[in-house]
Assembly symmetry: none
Homo-oligomer: 207 residues x 4
């Protein structure tokens, strides 16, 4: 047990790697539990038990229950940003808007599958200012990006009107994507593109 400790300097890593794994396990367990019973009803004991980690360890990494949710939220946000960055690379201003939507929606779809239900679960958490705002941050970010992209495509539009239209698009798309539990989830996600195209078409310069 203590035998190999001094052999290699690299030996410092394992701890960190273990910690890393621990954290992963905790977060994974937390997602599970939050999904099943919601944030308020979830207990840190249950999370630590599922993570096969002692409750003490859990608190070593996260000072309280909310912190776990925040970590999860932050992580979601990071993931999402990466996906968006990829989808909205250089040419995003040139390609037809419909193609852009395709890209973005496919990115969001992927995100939604990866984070299946977590977002919804989190969104239901009352009094979670911090993370609620993470979700809001996320939505706001998409709105901002869309708005920016539309600047070039709808030069005649008043900025305020453009903002509102962008917001409208994102809110609707978000709502249609968040129908996971409902029938026709797939079809509804597809409709997102249709309804947005129909909505924006009149103001889009070309296409």
């Amino acid at each position: 047990m203590r035998a190999n400790t001094h052999i290699l300097e690299v030996r410092k890593f394992p701890q960190q790697i273990r910690s890393q794994r621990r954290v992963e396990k905790i977060l994974a367990a937390a997602i599970e539990v939050f999904r099943e019973v919601g944030f308020e009803t979830a207990t840190t004991n249950e999370i630590s038990a599922r993570a096969e980690v002692s409750i003490g360890s859990l608190y070593q990494f996260y000072p309280n229950k909310s912190a776990i949710l925040n970590a999860l939220g932050a992580r979601c946000l990071t993931d999402l940003r990466a996906l968006l960055d990829q989808a909205l690379s250089e040419d995003s201003l040139e390609i037809p808007f419909e193609a852009l939507l395709d890209r973005v929606f496919s990115a969001l779809h992927m995100f939604s599958i990866q984070n299946d239900g977590l977002f919804a679960a989190i969104a239901k958490s009352p009094t979670l200012g911090e993370f609620i705002s993470a979700e809001q941050q996320f939505i706001d970010e998409i709105i901002r990006r869309l708005e920016f992209n539309l600047e070039h495509r709808t030069p005649n539009l008043e900025p305020k009107k453009r903002h509102i239209m962008a917001k409208t698009c994102v809110i609707c798309a978000h709502a249609l994507f968040e129908t996971r539990q409902s029938e026709h989830h797939g079809a509804l996600m597809l409709e997102a593109k249709t309804i947005i195209m129909a909505y924006l078409e009149p103001v889009l310069q070309n296409r």
Copy 2:
């Protein structure tokens, strides 16, 4: 028990009127508290305190915390149905679709003002099968009514497609209406009509 009740017109059924008021106070307090902290975090003690009613009285009317939420939900639903019935009276199949939307949205707007935030607060309550489904019931009902109305206006549409389109409209409208806390709430609600009209125009028979 109720003897002598007719002697004085004043003070009709004092018990009942008082009880009525009590219940009102409890429900009003519950709305307040649910709004502020969400259902799970809300405490019956806090509710009874705000209602200036003893905790025992609260439990005389509602056997547990969920019952209060259910009462609130049921009440919302009733209100909403009445509003919709009014908005969708006899001529709702003949008038232009846009006019119909105006009516419905103004009804929903009124509802949304009356029940400001409650719905959203309730919707956030995790694991509240009963009332969550009340909200769902409400949405489903609007979808059904819209679908029915669209039958006459979009005779060429496949039923399934029509269903999905109706659902899409309602989901989007709902999402746009539920932005109370955000800036531009009013404008977003107005956009609901625009986006739905743009979306449905291609399939609407006349107008």
Copy 3:
């Protein structure tokens, strides 16, 4: 977790020993409280306070108040069985019946002293199916053992009659033993032997 346990002999499984003690304290306190006010009236807070243990700890060991009573009951039953096993060893069929009674009664007396009053207190607990049946189990067990022993000593007796006589003996003895609070408790316990001998003498083969 248990690593290094062998390094020092001292401090063996501290957790377990402490826990053990805690449980003991809780049970002891519970006995005290149950005795004083009865099961229903006893409160878990009072028990934990007397045990000088936090209420949370109490619930860590026993999920609810009844569980404490059950633990107490189970323990009694175990104790009693051990005592009986000892008293009714191999030769119990050969020795004179009176000698057998002496043995059994002295075992029961010891038990009664050890568990002073607990049994009575428990027996008074209404609606405690589980433990009431533990007491019943205990009585039934003694009846069974006595019946079995009498088979050899009263071969002419109808089985049903034998069963009833055994039951009669045990019920009477039990009642006489459960007079702890009354004057002459000791004398009454002694009478148990007399009355049973008088009752059985006519049907006993030899002696």
Copy 4:
């Protein structure tokens, strides 16, 4: 309602008769409830509901829950005394002891049927000093009467010994009578006589 009030002086009675009935209903309901769930678990609300009497009325007659039990206890005691008085009339010192036992047991049997289960239910009520002592009073009274009767039948016995023997008899008989829920209840009650006769025979002067 107020109309006939002044017609006859006798008119005062009805109130009393009604009250009487009310009290009867309350007591009857209380017996039912106590039997079903025991004293502690019984609620005054349940009792008043079953008695079809308002909770306020109940408290008009009995200042608290215990008072109801006490009333029930007192009543039992009265009933019992009457029965005993009848069974132990003048000639009770002359008739053979066995005949006496027959009389007493048949009286007790009747009592036990009339009060089926109430006694047992009451006996289980913890912390009911007052009524527990009613039961004790009852037992003590029987002991005293038996002791007195035995004075003439066992002149050679030491008084203390006689007291203990009387006590033994009563305790055993009581225990055998209180087996209502058990199989063989009838047979066990019959054994009471047998065991007591066997026990006392050696010291009884004649017979």
